[in-house]
């Protein structure tokens, strides 16, 4: 276990470096720079040029590219992502404000998607002819084919009277009691969480169904039934445990989709999370923020893929990780 972990962690180093290099390259290859918007509005061109030079020197934009990259890399190792070019606040501060909203949204969506996907998938595999399961599968399949932002807009249109339009908190949120605040946030979460979780739900429930159908056709299931073990425990103890493995790996890989999807969902529902922050930073060419978010998103995904792989080993004794190699 330990040598495997060390090897995996070492493998993450080149991947991480590659990601930072790619992020850096994209943001610097982009034509134009964050000062252009300012310069156009400035009255005295000479004055603006001097100010721009000072701005560039202050943010290190006048140094050669490789020096800029190495300096940036050295700093992020100490979690210093620099200051935003827009409002000069530290990037870490902006991230710290946005991250909880996205984490809340993503974790609730992920949890909900998996909690629902497993029973739906199992039911679909056990009773393939049931009308309920056909209805559910069809609905998910149809939803999966629709653009998320369209579903979000339609939901707002149809249910906008019952559910709040914007953000995660009502205006009087701070004055509420603790249970009131929790309820308020939950109420605001309903529509965004639905939009963010249904694609994952559709994919994972199909996966569970396929794995369960495979498992139920295996000899050990027939043997268990022959021994007179109750059907309920054949399904949940014998078949389900074995079919959950591929689903566990999916957990790590569904995170990038959630982070990507949050850009659209946060924009429709006006939630000030990482997605919206990234979108705004990209529109305003706020390089330090864009680079920090890309790096962070990639890092979170890398770690979650690793955790999923480790869980895989824990769940299945046959694949004791690192045993073979």
């Amino acid at each position: 276990m330990r040598p495997y972990l060390v090897r995996r962690l070492l493998q993450m180093v080149p991947t991480f470096l590659g990601i930072t290099l790619l992020t850096f390259a994209i943001s610097r290859l982009a034509p134009g720079d964050p000062l252009q918007l300012d310069t156009e509005s400035a009255s005295a061109a000479g004055q603006a040029a001097a100010a721009n030079d000072a701005f560039r020197a202050q943010h290190g934009l006048d140094l050669p590219l490789h020096v800029q990259y190495l300096r940036w890399l050295g700093k992020i190792l100490t979690l210093d992502f620099g200051r935003s070019l827009q409002d000069h606040r530290p990037v870490v501060e902006k991230l710290a404000e946005a991250l909880p909203q996205t984490l809340l949204l993503a974790s609730v969506s992920l949890l909900l998607a998996y909690l629902l996907a497993i029973p739906i998938g199992v039911h679909a595999a056990v009773r393939p002819k049931s009308k309920v399961r056909r209805g559910v599968t069809l609905t998910l399949y149809l939803l999966y084919a629709m653009p998320t932002f369209w579903v979000a807009v339609m939901l707002l249109l149809l249910l906008g009277d019952f559910f709040p339009f914007q953000g995660l908190e009502s205006s009087g949120h701070d004055a509420m009691s603790l249970p009131g605040r929790v309820l308020d946030t939950a109420w605001h979460l309903v529509l965004p969480v639905f939009c963010l979780s249904y694609p994952t739900l559709a994919v994972v429930s199909r996966q569970v169904r396929a794995a369960m159908t495979d498992a139920l056709a295996q000899d050990y299931v027939r043997a268990a039934r022959a021994r007179g073990i109750p059907e309920r425990s054949v399904i949940f103890k014998h078949a389900l445990r074995n079919s959950l493995l591929p689903v566990v790996t999916m957990l790590g890989l569904s995170l990038p989709h959630l982070i990507g999807g949050s850009v659209v969902v946060e924009r429709v529902f006006g939630i000030n999370g990482m997605g919206l922050l990234a979108f705004e930073a990209i529109s305003l060419r706020d390089y330090p923020v864009v680079m920090a978010i890309c790096t962070l998103a990639a890092l979170v995904t890398m770690v979650s893929v690793l955790v999923a792989d480790l869980l895989y080993g824990l769940a299945d004794p046959r694949i004791r990780v690192g045993a073979g190699s």
Partner: protein
């Protein structure tokens, strides 16, 4: 034994073929000029392609009153033909709801929604198919190399694949398009193509790994064939069927990505009608005058297309995968 394609698969295939035909023949289905027209003793065939001087600035609606005879397109409106050119007198400003003139209504400039949808099919399908063509090419190349040579090559390619997987796709595409400040179809296709190849590369790698130990490859090697020839002529063709299935699903997801990018303001440039762009415009008009037709129809087009492609992928999987 030949397997039968299930009815759903055949329906999906029909739908996809119809969509491709619509995209290819968009100018024959909906245009501001007719299929054929006779004006002042001269007959013009398919004037939309030749743009004859005599018909410059004319519309089917004007020609219908002046021409000796006219063969109209099924939808007699061009995708960018605005109400000013329509010669339709209405009491209220557009958007107009569906009626006999405009079957699916018009947008806020009086442009016919059906005509824009027909031309939008071209944009959406082009983005979908071209970007996936790039994905398949990169996937075959990198997956093939990684699987065939193994060791160092495999390690490097696996790291590159991992980097691309770790980046949330929409994020990455958004960053590239947004920071490069380009809104045109070519970079859109390129960026989607260069980010979505990872699934295909992994499939090809696994397939090549499985195949390269088989006797026919040993035989090819014994015959003295070069590595390139073995890879291109013998290994990759045998690895194609799972790629075909994955590519079908990839087209569907590329169309969805295009619509999301349009919504974020990075899709096809304004006058172009793409489904995502139509939906985005509709978003602004939804709550105010309640122009439901602007949002429902493009959304349905995307949903039906994605559904048909997913269904086709399922059918192909059933047909090509011996385990299914």
């Amino acid at each position: 034994m030949r397997r039968r394609i299930p009815l759903r698969g055949r329906l999906a295939l029909t739908a996809v073929i119809l969509l491709v035909l619509t995209a290819v023949g968009a100018d024959l289905l909906a245009a501001h000029l007719p299929l054929a027209v006779r004006v002042d003793g001269t007959t013009y065939w398919l004037p939309i392609f030749r743009q004859p001087v005599a018909l410059r600035g004319a519309t089917q609606q004007q020609l219908a009153t002046t021409a000796e005879w006219i063969w109209r397109t099924p939808v007699p409106w061009g995708p960018n033909q605005t109400f000013a050119a329509n010669a339709v007198i209405a009491d209220t400003p557009p958007p107009w709801g569906p009626d006999l003139q405009h079957w699916l209504g018009t947008d806020e400039l009086g442009r016919d929604v059906l005509a824009r949808l027909i031309h939008g099919a071209r944009v959406s399908l082009t983005v979908g198919f071209l970007s996936v063509a790039i994905c398949v090419f990169i996937g075959l190349l990198l997956g093939g190399l990684a699987g065939y040579y193994g060791r160092g090559v495999d390690a490097v390619i696996s790291r590159i694949t991992e980097i691309m997987i770790t980046f949330p796709t929409l994020f990455f595409v958004l960053a590239v398009l947004g920071l490069l400040r380009i809104s045109s179809l070519t970079p859109l296709v390129l960026v989607i193509g260069f980010t979505r190849w990872t699934d295909i590369a992994r499939l090809v790698r696994a397939e090549v790994l499985k195949l390269k130990g088989l006797d026919f490859i040993t035989a090819s090697r014994a015959l003295g064939l070069s590595d390139a020839r073995i890879l291109v002529r013998h290994l990759l063709p045998n690895a194609l069927s799972p790629v075909l299935v994955a590519a079908t699903f990839a087209v569907a997801s590329a169309i969805l990505i295009e619509s999301a990018l349009s919504f974020l303001g990075l899709g096809a440039p304004p006058p172009t009608a793409s489904w995502g762009e139509l939906l985005t415009q509709a978003h602004r008009y939804l709550t105010h005058p309640g122009a439901w037709w602007l949002a429902i129809f493009p959304g349905l087009c995307i949903a039906v297309t994605v559904l048909a492609l997913n269904e086709l992928g399922e059918a192909l999987r059933g047909l090509l995968d011996p385990r299914a």
